[in-house]
Symmetry: C2
Subunit: 358 residues, 2 copies
């Protein structure tokens, strides 16, 4: 990031189910939290400007970059690239990062299109074969990072190791941990313990001298327990695990509401315990964990949930800010270089490290 | 099943974390629910007999088949097969089904070993390439069947179709539905919608004239919603989805306990709403959904959770009884024959069906 100006976040103002109606007030919330930030709102001026009028403090620190083109929420990535290239709000927000006008881009738009454009514009970092999307997962212990939650499908051992390296760097940045633990998501049935790629990734993480606190295989129920700080898996399983957990949380909340409304006594009890339920709701609030961070690109892009509200969108901005401040991209770049070196010449690297250690 | 005798369930009395201490009282519970059942308790007589003394009503209807060999909970399947073949309680319980001494076997032992032995002894049905484990999943609507939850890893399109056929038959048997709906678990990101196998399985289920109510792709959060009656996926993802949901449910329950205990007011509220919380606990009780049904074998084997209690073990027996009574194996056999015919000559089959329909 440039030192001669304020930190700037570019927003795809047209992304998400409601576009500027959510993006502008969400940005206003983030602006109030971070008084030093500046914002670049990319989209239709005729829709953004009136909304901005309602947030005078944001208006002072925001610039509108006008475009009338927006990527549809259901557009295919190829179609979005073709039609939105060089002119859509999504493209221009990401491109502002490439050009140095912004330090990160946040969009609540179509995930596939956003990833396709982000790869195209920002390029993947050297040594990274495929970018991943990382999610923040609330756990019993605190929070963990889970990746990939849907950028790609299937991953070989080397890619899983890349995910581990990137997720570990993100955990240091976002969770403030010095030595985050990393686990590989696997199944526990003895006969078939894991697919070959997962086993091989486990061997690499265990045997190489990567400076990663590898904690071994974990199972699905370990995610919510917070057994490790970083959960590594390929995108198909990660996406299904994430959505299954979301579904289960909703299911339990519905049950709870149902049983509490059944009798007069339980309704009275619920009333007395209202503070507790608010605390529970607060803790589980998906808006407080909103934001999928694209890892492995030469720049920071955060995907907000398309259906979130202003509060949720502000969380996604918070996440982007944190990634910029802590220098995530530079950390990943360094770590991946180290990884590439170590994995290329494992024995030499081991020797060096042993010498340093002795 | 033979008509000239009572329906009999064989129990691996040594399986599970606590062996007969749970299996015998669990069987006693099931015996009380099903007064017409008979039981074959396989295992160490010196441990089973004293426990049976405490349940005189079960004792009248139970026979002990003695063996001192038990499969260790952490034994590898190959090791279990080698050491437990022909003499372990697990082997003998399954073999009782093959010999016609029992109609189904239930074990809380090592899943990998149980599957390996079950395949070895009972064999897979003609037309089935690999057996699957199906779980009963509580949903907002009622209950769904999810398979495979860990018998195998990875599945091609034809195997996913086999899972669909078997799960659909199980839903008719266990859930009593005439036309259960079937969905394929997939991810929603447009760019990468699904792996090739899942897409291909979707095409087969849609285009072939299999008598299956195919509802298309579903995502992780659809499982808990109960969007479809049968959720089809390969074992790695299925196992992780199942355990992730279990973990999330535990996590929420812990949060709830925590927030409710915080203030005097919320503790009082919780006291008044105690009935509601009991109802919630009851609804989410994993013991009421305990039992993974092995599908695709020429006989019925149900895997109980290794750490469950008597109530949970009784549920697994209930499930086995239901599968026997409703003739699950015969239904699957017929359906798979039909499937094999239809998929071999799709055009001919279509023609016939069209003629029948017109």
């Amino acid at each position: 990031m440039k030192q001669d100006r304020h930190l700037t976040i570019a927003l795809d103002a047209m992304g998400g189910d409601q576009g500027p109606e959510i993006v502008v007030p969400g940005t206003a919330l983030a602006a109030a939290r971070h008084p030093e930030l500046r914002f670049l709102l990319v989209g239709d001026r005729s829709r953004i400007a009136p909304l901005l009028e309602r947030h005078p403090k944001l208006r002072e620190r925001a610039e509108i970059r006008h475009t009338e083109v927006a990527v549809a929420m259901d557009a295919r990535p190829s179609q979005a690239l073709r039609q939105g290239r060089g002119k859509s709000s999504m493209w221009l927000a990401i491109d502002a990062v490439r050009q140095g006008d912004a330090d990160a881009a946040v969009s609540a738009g179509n995930t596939g299109a956003l990833m396709a454009m982000a790869r195209f514009i920002l390029k993947t970092l050297p040594g990274i074969s495929r970018p991943a999307i990382a999610a923040l997962w609330p756990t019993l212990r605190s929070e963990s990072i889970v990746l990939d939650v849907g950028a790609t499908i299937g991953a070989d051992a080397a890619q899983l190791v890349e995910f581990a390296v990137m997720g570990e760097a993100m955990a240091r940045c976002l969770l403030g941990l010095e030595k985050p633990t990393v686990g590989l998501l696997n199944v526990g049935v003895e006969e078939i313990k894991g697919v070959e790629q997962v086993k091989e990734a486990g061997r690499i993480l265990r045997d190489s001298r990567l400076p990663i606190e590898y904690a071994g295989f974990i199972e699905g129920d370990d995610i919510g327990k917070g057994t490790v700080d970083v959960v590594v898996t390929e995108g198909f399983t990660g996406n299904i695990a994430l959505k299954t957990a979301e579904g289960t949380a909703k299911q339990l909340t519905s049950y709870l509401r149902l049983v509490l409304s059944r009798t007069l006594l339980s309704r009275l009890g619920a009333l007395l315990a209202a503070g507790a339920f608010r605390a529970l709701k607060d803790r589980m609030d998906p808006r407080k964990h909103n934001g999928g961070v694209f890892l492995g690109l030469d720049g920071i892009v955060v995907k907000s949930h398309g259906g979130t509200d202003a509060l949720g969108f502000a969380t996604a901005i918070d996440m982007a800010v944190e990634m910029v401040r802590t220098g995530l991209v530079a950390k990943i770049r360094t770590d991946v270089e180290l990884m590439t070196g170590l994995l290329k010449e494992p024995d030499a690297a081991r020797l060096n490290l042993t010498e340093v250690g002795s």
